[in-house]
């Protein structure tokens, strides 16, 4: 911070100190309204009796000065300056009856209201922060006891549950209400289950009829169901790549054997 290193700005030390002060001040303001408010305070009157005209002049003078000092002003400040210039002209010129919108006095009154409200909020903020605060002036319980959540499970059953349970045991079978009697149906799932266990031992071509479960070959209805299921299951095994299937001619026996897993 030497004093002679800026030849393009022929300013005195005082000028530059003042300029720096402006920069700092603008930074310190929370926007143009805040700046107006602190300017208004220097008028040392009730905010309601403040001279908006004086305030506008003061603000515009500040902005002019900032310009000559080549200070960068935030857009907000310039917008406010433009508006205050407009307000100033309205306040100074006689009212134009053809003009729409609020009068200069309305606008000035509104600005005064805004300044007063901002000041009021500032005072409130100060009062709020001056209150006794938790953790600073008063304190909460140091050893709070955490509420324990006790989860209690109540088990229940109905008489039907009980009887169904008993029925299940006495029939040694899954209790299945409202299920069609499928005594004579051999499902593909059953066939698949059966064949999966057997296919591994079948290196030779074997007639699929030999896979039929015991006791399913005498009753024609059961035989048909079992044969169809076994055939479908055979195809499924082939599809899964676990078996190979062949038939030499129409109506010839269908033969199945394990598929050797090719080495990779």
């Amino acid at each position: 911070m030497t004093e002679t290193d800026s030849p393009e700005l022929p300013l005195t030390v005082d000028d530059r100190l003042a300029a720096e002060a402006f920069v700092i001040d603008v930074d310190g303001y929370e926007g143009p309204l805040d700046m107006l408010l602190s300017m208004a305070r220097t008028q040392k009157v009730d905010l309601r009796k403040i001279s908006i005209l004086d305030l506008s002049r003061q603000y515009l003078a500040f902005v002019e000065e900032a310009k000559t000092l080549r200070l960068e002003l935030a857009a907000d400040y310039l917008v406010m300056a433009a508006w205050l210039a407009f307000l100033k002209s309205r306040l100074l010129l006689p009212p134009d009856p053809t003009e729409e919108g609020p009068s200069g006095e309305d606008l000035a009154a509104h600005l005064a209201f805004q300044l007063e409200r901002l000041q009021a909020m500032r005072d409130c903020a100060a009062k709020l922060m001056a209150r006794d605060q938790k953790g600073r002036d008063f304190f909460v319980r140091g050893i709070p006891e955490h509420m324990e959540r006790v989860r209690k499970v109540k088990y229940t059953a109905t008489l039907i549950d009980l009887m169904q349970g008993y029925a299940r045991i006495r029939t040694k079978d899954e209790f299945r209400p409202f299920v069609m009697d499928r005594e004579k149906v051999f499902t593909m799932e059953m066939a698949l289950d059966r064949m999966r266990g057997m296919i591994g031992f079948s290196g030779q071509w074997t007639d699929i009829i030999s896979y039929l479960p015991e006791g399913w070959d005498d009753d024609p209805v059961k035989w048909r169901s079992a044969t169809a299921a076994t055939f479908a299951a055979s195809l499924e095994l082939v599809k899964e790549g676990k078996a190979e299937i062949q038939q030499s001619e129409t109506f010839a026996p269908i033969q199945l054997r394990r598929r050797e897993i090719p080495r990779e």
Binding site: E30, G31, P32, L33, D34, L36, D76, V79, M80, A82, W83, F86, L87, G101, P102, D106, L107, H110, L111, F113, Q114, E116, R117, L118, A120, M121, R122, D123, C124, A125, K127, L128, M129, R131, D132, Q133, K134, G135, R136, D137, F138, F139, V140, R141, G142, P144, E145, M147
Partner: protein, 221 residues
């Protein structure tokens, strides 16, 4: 859920415990909790037929002038040390993050004008409110989102929380210092001017309705 609170006592299968016992129960529950406990929760935790609200009246009186007080925080209650004994508690003092001037002012505006939109805060302060300021207050749980304003754009509003009341030792937002005077002076009204004034926020303040909703819906839920 909520109807359990005002259940007539005649419904009770058993007699409620005597009021002295109820007072003890409220005392134990409030002592055990660092956070305020609502009357509803007190009633829920106490045996059927208890009247926590009445027990609270007795308990509060009992602790008058003592080292700890029974305080009301919104619709909940808590026990807090007496403020005049704060000097004994350096050990318990929590270093709170220093709030910026912007944050303090924003907080004051929200508490006095709630529910209030961001645009309204900006109009009052005459400067944009940074996201960080709002975020900080939300994070401290001193403010929360209120109902959306039924105006174009349906902007969100901000209101203060129970934690705010607790922190500043307020029974309700109506007890904010100087609130009545400010209202009488018309300083809590939203008074937008139809044209001219530069707008600092989103610029839709003009569109906001002019009704003074301030303080009318302090406790939304």
């Amino acid at each position: 859920m909520s109807d359990t609170v005002h259940e007539p006592k005649t419904d009770s299968l058993f007699d409620a415990p005597p009021m002295g016992e109820q007072e003890r129960m409220v005392e134990a529950i409030l002592f055990a909790s660092a956070d305020p406990v609502s009357v509803k929760e007190l009633n829920d935790r106490m045996p059927h037929g208890c009247d926590a609200a009445e027990a609270l009246v007795h308990l509060r009186k009992r602790y008058e002038g003592r080292g700890v007080h029974v305080v009301k925080v919104g619709d909940a209650w808590a026990i807090r040390t007496a403020a005049d004994l704060g000097f004994l508690m350096q050990r318990e003092t929590v270093e709170t993050r220093k709030l910026s001037r912007a944050a303090i002012e924003t907080l004051a505006i929200i508490s006095y004008h709630q529910p209030v939109t961001r645009a309204e805060i900006e109009e009052i302060r005459g400067v944009g409110v940074s996201r960080g300021t709002i975020d900080q207050l939300l994070e401290m749980e001193w403010i929360r989102f209120g109902r959306r304003r039924m105006t174009p754009g349906r902007p969100v509003t901000f209101v203060v929380t129970q934690e705010f009341l607790d922190h500043f030792g307020l029974e309700s937002a109506r007890d904010l210092p100087g609130l009545a005077e400010l209202r009488a002076a018309g300083l809590l009204e939203s008074r937008p001017l139809s044209s001219g004034m530069p707008q600092m926020g989103d610029g839709d303040i003009d569109a906001e309705e002019e009704t003074d909703e301030g303080q009318s819906e302090l406790f939304e839920d």
